[in-house]
Amino acid sequence: MLKIEHLTKTYAGGKKAVDDVTLEVKAGELYGFIGHNGAGKTTTLRAVSGILSFDSGSITVNGYNVVQQPVAAKKAMAFLPDNPDLYEFLSGIKYLNFIADIYGIEAQKRQTLIAKYADAFELTSALGSPISSYSHGMKQKLALISAFIREPRLLILDEPFVGLDPKAAFSMKNFLRELCESGGAVFFSTHVLEVAEKLCDKIAIIKDGKLIEAGDTAEIVGNSSLENVFLELEAEPAAGLYVQEGEQK
């Protein structure tokens, strides 16, 4: 579903935000992406979603290269940034309708999907109000609804649990599982290690732009906790890791 190969991104000033990162997210996988602040998580996610250009490497989503076939690649995925700035001049429903128009979702289907997700996130009654009157959590929910109604093959989320109330977080986890069970995949970053440990099938850990660990959650965590594993890895100097399915680490 998602193949990142030798991704490198350097910002102006020489800071290498992502350094030769390679990983793969398969259909049906809930893949967690963990790292300290400034490790390169958001840069990676934004590069995958086609928002950020990168220096070298390749990214394919559902078989489409994000640079050479951007429209086809973007049609297959949905991205949710960590702090979703939305069109404040639109109402919630107008924003959802706009997204549905862009993705060509036909009328009856969009109505069903909006009703399903808006009811689950308890946002239906506020959809008529302008987004400028929403709280941060409500904007987060609206952004999530706009992502789910596209029925993406790949869902990319940057810190999705920030700002969500417990009920909304529970609903979101269920929808993420549902998406994976229907053949899609989820690739998300989080600082909440307990959630990543319980929810994710696979985990990748990035440090100073380099991938230092990647693989099945159970194998990485072992008899310890993800928190302990993460802190131990953080303490070691970053050597970089290239892992492909079936290869020895």
Partner: protein
Amino acid sequence: MKPFWALLKVNFKSLLLTSVNLGRGKRKAASGIGAFAIMAGLMLFLSSTYSFMLAAQTAPFGRLDIMLMYMLTMAIIAPLVFTFYAAQSLVFSTKDVDLVLSLPVSGFKVMMARIMALYLEVLLITEALLVPTGIAYAVYNGAGGVYTVFALLVLGLFLALLPTLVGLVCGFVISWFVARTRFKNLVNIVLSLLFFGLIMAGSMGISGAAANLQTQEQINAIKVGAPISWVIDVATKFNPLWFLLLAAACTLPFLLVAWLFSLNFKNLLTALASTTLKTNYKLGQLKTTGVLAALFKKEAAKYFGTPILVMNSLVSVILLVGAGVVAVFNRAAIVGVFAEMGQMGITGIEEMLAPLALATIAFFVSVIPVSCVSVSLEGKTLWILKEAPVPVSYIFMVKAGFNFLLAGPTCVACGILFGVAFAISPAEVAGVIVVSVLLSALASMLGLFINLQFPRMDADSDAVVVKQSTSVIISMLANWVVAGLLAGVYLLVRLATPSFLLFALVASVVLAGLIALATLMLNTKGRRLFNAL
């Protein structure tokens, strides 16, 4: 006092500069300072031109006080254009209300710092207008001589308080109304149009009166009354008591209003920041549209949701169409003037009408600043467009197309109106319309490209983007260069023949070529610039 000065510095910089941290954003800060320097330079140029022109007209009749009257009035009215929006976007801004109210600084100091930052901006504009006035007065041997130059410089400190005060009160009234109504943007636009209509009427009154300074009779008809006459007396005659009284008259009302606002800072900002969330929506039938239509609807919603952008662009359209309508209704008078000119031996007037109509339309259309800020106005929401599965060309088409939608029909309407008013032949009217429509299409695409080249994605407010972007100024200059190019084509064609139709044909070909070039630039470099944002 330290917190007050820190707040004053931050607020003043946010009014003038793009980046507070000059170290990290030198290019951004330089473009912001550059934009401000160009504006200040333009203001000095205009002020000097007007001052010396009026001084030259009135000095021979011994009535330099008329020049002072006009320039002092302009120095008080002109800054209102800036204070009006600055009051809403800075003084009564609720964007950072959480941060500001949580600071260990009294609300009084916070509000005073904002008001003083506004005053400092007005002061710069006022002095830019008054200093050339004083110099022109001294050069033309006004009675006050060099004293007047220094007196106006010092008086500027107090006169700047007046437009600051008016801007504060009007800005607050509008912010209050807008916060309380459902159709916030519509109310903002209507109130803003009324406010600017009053300023325009006043300015045009001054300009019109200034044109009637040719004869002793006309000069004598102008009486300089109070309170401007008091200001002129203080500026031209050394009298400390009058000076102090005038300073007090300017300062006391300002201090009273500033003190009242500052005292009620927390209540005011909380009231302005409060919004009502309606929770009674029921999901109904949803309409679908195509991708281009959806993008266009979004662009239109953004346009009408940005009152300052609507104001900036509508003013040009309204002035141009208004001029056309007035010309039609005064057709008989215009024809009479041309007949008189013909009897005075002035020939070739009919040949100039179509080019003049085209030049007028081209000038106003070139200052419709929509596409040149459309990318910047995406700001932090740009990720939505970049993530969307739409070709970049669609996004460009919509952004340039929206600008053209405002400018194109304006060209057609005004071409017809001027054609009727000046009795221009239908063929020449068609020529005016075709050239001006092509010019507006080019301006729309150029504006977009220039905005991609000079984006401003981190502005605190839409007002900053619309009023202080480098792309707006460069876009305007670029359009004037194109207009100059067409003027050159006109002169070249005229060497061979006075036929306007031939010029229109050649100009159309030139513009079509430039549009093709602009299309290529947008599809190549423009695409790369957009992807790099």
